[in-house]
Symmetry: C2
Subunit: 123 residues, 2 copies
DNA sequence: TATACCGGTATATAAAAGTATACCGGGTTG
DNA sequence: CAACCCGGTATACTTTTATATACCGGTATA
């Protein structure tokens, strides 16, 4: 007896499935927190400065923006470049690697859209 | 000038992208919390009773299991069936709809695996 | 009769995540 | 000289999320 599907959830045995829990967690962790997505989306259209981001992302405090940017930077999803202008300019940009999140964000969006419709429909 | 890619992050204009933030959030919300994934994975191989789940998912308390199952049930990802046996049996099962999470979990897993490798490689 | 299993709930607490607010040095503009 | 912009940090606080622990009624088993 071999699995019918290669990638499906039920196709894999319990051991395999449990092993995949960690990578899934890793991916979710990278996107976790209230502000990561808004930041990624804001940077998807090109580099932005700190204050630009803060103005564009409604409601975020400097503290959270700074913290989340640092985490994204540590995961190499975002790059930080300091320009020695006056006053100093700091530019944040989605890295090439950061752009690979594309796939997973699209998957989340598509399922999310479907879910929204379902939830609305049942009222 | 039209976008080169149809589904990519950068392919869409700012408005479109911001709109997609909500569905992405919805999808992430459904998977949010420490125990949702472990529960989904445990149920991916067929129905389980409450205590079975609790035994299988190491470290979860009855309170959290109960709470997370209720949330999954509200989102129609999991069904709850009470059998009038003695003692009473309560079975939880992934719904057909719950199985559609498949795609997004696979996307997360694949990116997560890639990310794991990257992080390990740079040490 | 005592003990254990089932499927939970209630209460209290701890830990994590997010917010509010003030402040910093360096530079520029009025 | 005062006020403002930049790119943040520090401290204290609130809210959310998760844990620990005790307990419940009903039934079966020793």
């Amino acid at each position: 007896m071999t699995p019918v599907r290669k990638t499906g959830l039920k196709a894999e045995d319990a051991g395999e499935c449990k092993k995949s829990l960690l990578p899934v967690r890793d991916a979710l962790y990278v996107l976790s927190g209230k502000w990561k997505l808004p930041i990624i989306v804001a940077l998807a259209h090109g580099h932005k400065r700190f204050k630009e981001l803060q103005r564009e992302i409604k409601g975020i405090t400097a503290r959270m923006l700074s913290k989340e940017l640092r985490e994204l930077e540590m995961n190499e999803l975002v790059s930080r470049t300091v320009y020695d202008t006056t006053p100093v300019t700091v530019e944040y940009e989605l890295t090439k690697y950061g752009e690979t999140l594309d796939t997973v964000i699209v998957a989340l969006r598509d399922w999310g859209l479907r879910h929204r419709k379902k939830i609305k429909a049942r009222k």
